[in-house]
């Protein structure tokens, strides 16, 4: 692992951050960069570890986010006594998954401007309203409600979350945190950003790309269903017919 760490260090420092400050001090690696979705997938845990000179004035924030989509939020309304979907707002660049961890509550060391700039924390996420100029006035005035509704739903699904105090320092330089990907995590590419913060400034940052993808039978079935939809449908019928016939033969004998 230490070899990998050194390789990662060299790669990251040379490619990603050649900045002037103390960015050079931040080293990060993940226990794996692919979260495989297989038949037995029930979620996955990853270990993120890194080193940064910890002088008791620096804090570490870890943000996992991705893949980005348009997100539709609909407001329920009563129609003839029944709850139906009414007004809707589409937000752009909504991460399907967003998770943040830090060594202590971010409110204690991060100001809002920096949080907004780097979209650190759920409240700082910058979703723009799609086709905002075409929305009726009463919706336009209320997009904040729709945004809050989106965040609540995502949190309830376990797809937006944060854990403060979940980044642990070991000794003077090492830190680690556990990243959890729930069973309903969407397939796609994720960015894992680590920020070292001191005096409300980012003094080091590091990005790793992480892929959540289907493997084996899962990937095979999914790809086939999307690429050869007609053949997939026909095979589904043939399988069902064969199973129905088999059942009637098997149970007639008994």
């Amino acid at each position: 692992m230490s070899n990998r760490l050194i390789v990662a260090l060299v790669l990251c420092l040379s490619i990603v951050f050649g900045s002037q400050s103390r960015a050079n001090d931040l080293v990060v690696d993940l226990s794996k960069t692919v979260v495989p979705i297989t038949t037995s997938f029930t979620g996955s845990n990853l270990l993120l570890f890194g080193s940064f000179k910890n002088d008791n004035k620096t804090d570490i924030i870890v943000v996992v986010r991705g893949p980005f989509h348009d997100g539709i939020v609909r407001q329920k309304k009563r129609v003839l006594g029944v709850w139906a979907n009414g007004d809707e707002v589409t937000f752009e660049d909504v991460p399907a998954y967003y998770y943040m961890a830090s060594n202590r509550p971010v409110e204690e060391f991060l100001n809002d401007d920096l949080a907004k700039l780097r979209q650190i924390g759920i409240d700082s996420l910058d979703f723009s309203v799609k086709n905002a100029d075409q929305l009726p006035e009463h919706i336009k005035a209320n997009t904040g409600q729709f945004r809050a509704g989106l965040v609540r739903n995502k949190q309830a699904d376990g797809l937006f979350g944060r854990k403060l105090g979940n980044v642990h320092f070991k000794g003077d330089t090492l830190f680690r945190t556990d990243l959890h990907f729930p069973a309903n995590v969407p397939v796609g590419e994720y960015g894992v950003d680590v920020y070292a913060i001191r005096d409300n400034k980012i003094i080091g940052e590091h990005t790793t790309i992480l892929a959540v993808q289907k493997f084996g039978l899962e990937a095979g079935i999914y790809d086939f269903a999307h690429r050869n939809a007609l053949a997939y449908g026909l095979i589904a019928i043939i399988l069902a017919t064969a199973a129905g016939w088999l059942a009637s033969v098997l149970f007639r004998k008994s």
């Binding site: 509704g149 899962e218 069902a240 129905g244």
Partner: protein, 304 residues
Amino acid sequence: MQIYLPIAEVSVNIFLILGMGGGVGFLSGVFGVGGGFLMTPLLIFIGIPPAVAVATEANQIVASSVSGVLAHWKRGNVDFKMGFALLAGGVIGSSLGVMLFAFLRELGQLDLVIKLSYVIFLGIIGILMLIESLNTIRRSKKQIAPVRRTHNWMHGLPFKVRFRRSRLYISALLPIGIGILVGLLAAIMGVGGGFVMVPAMIYLLGMPTAVVVGTSLFQIIFVTANVTVLQAVNTQTVDVVLALLLLAGGVVGAQFGVRVGVKLKGEQLRGLLAVMVLMVCAKISYDLIATPGDMYTLGMLGGH
């Protein structure tokens, strides 16, 4: 033991799915119904996306109808001519239904329409069945001859065809019309539609009860097969892994159900089935009327 479903994209307990298949299969064996009207709401209830639940259940019904129709075919209880007339309507109806399904999904009103269809149809059928079985139980002491069908507007329709197996000479438009309605329901509700078609065939067309079940199963095979292919092509929501698990449980459950079913009286069976249908109806109605926990919901995430 958890299994990740490739199309539904959720992780479910394999024994829960097998158990649901077995349980619904048992009930369908006892009552002689397809069970789609129970299975689809159950699948949605455990967190399968409604679109996947409806399309996958259509696929499963193909299997259960095939094994059902074979037994009826052996006894000569399938009116193929009537079956094809129903089927012609069924293909039209289910094709329209799949288009409507995709359109409603786009609008964000699919879940509502699925639930409303359930409430309306389960409510009507459940109440009718309950009244009928109560009357039969009350009447069983003093025998009353069933009402004879009389000539009405239906016999004035054109395109009359002779259906020999059913001993009927009626307009082909009637079975085609019933087929269209049932096909629509199959596509939108994820059911075979037997619970609508069987009463329609008995009371509307006046078919002999002996051939009704076999003929309706014959039609259901092709209509649900049509729905399966169209959903696979248009919405990619057919999950074969889920379908296979459901039917594995369903086949076994149905065999036990049939054995229990023969020991019960017909009117008791219908009464029990009516109560069950009304319970599902009440549960879905409650979900529609009760104030939701969150006034905002997420729609489909697009853009990839």
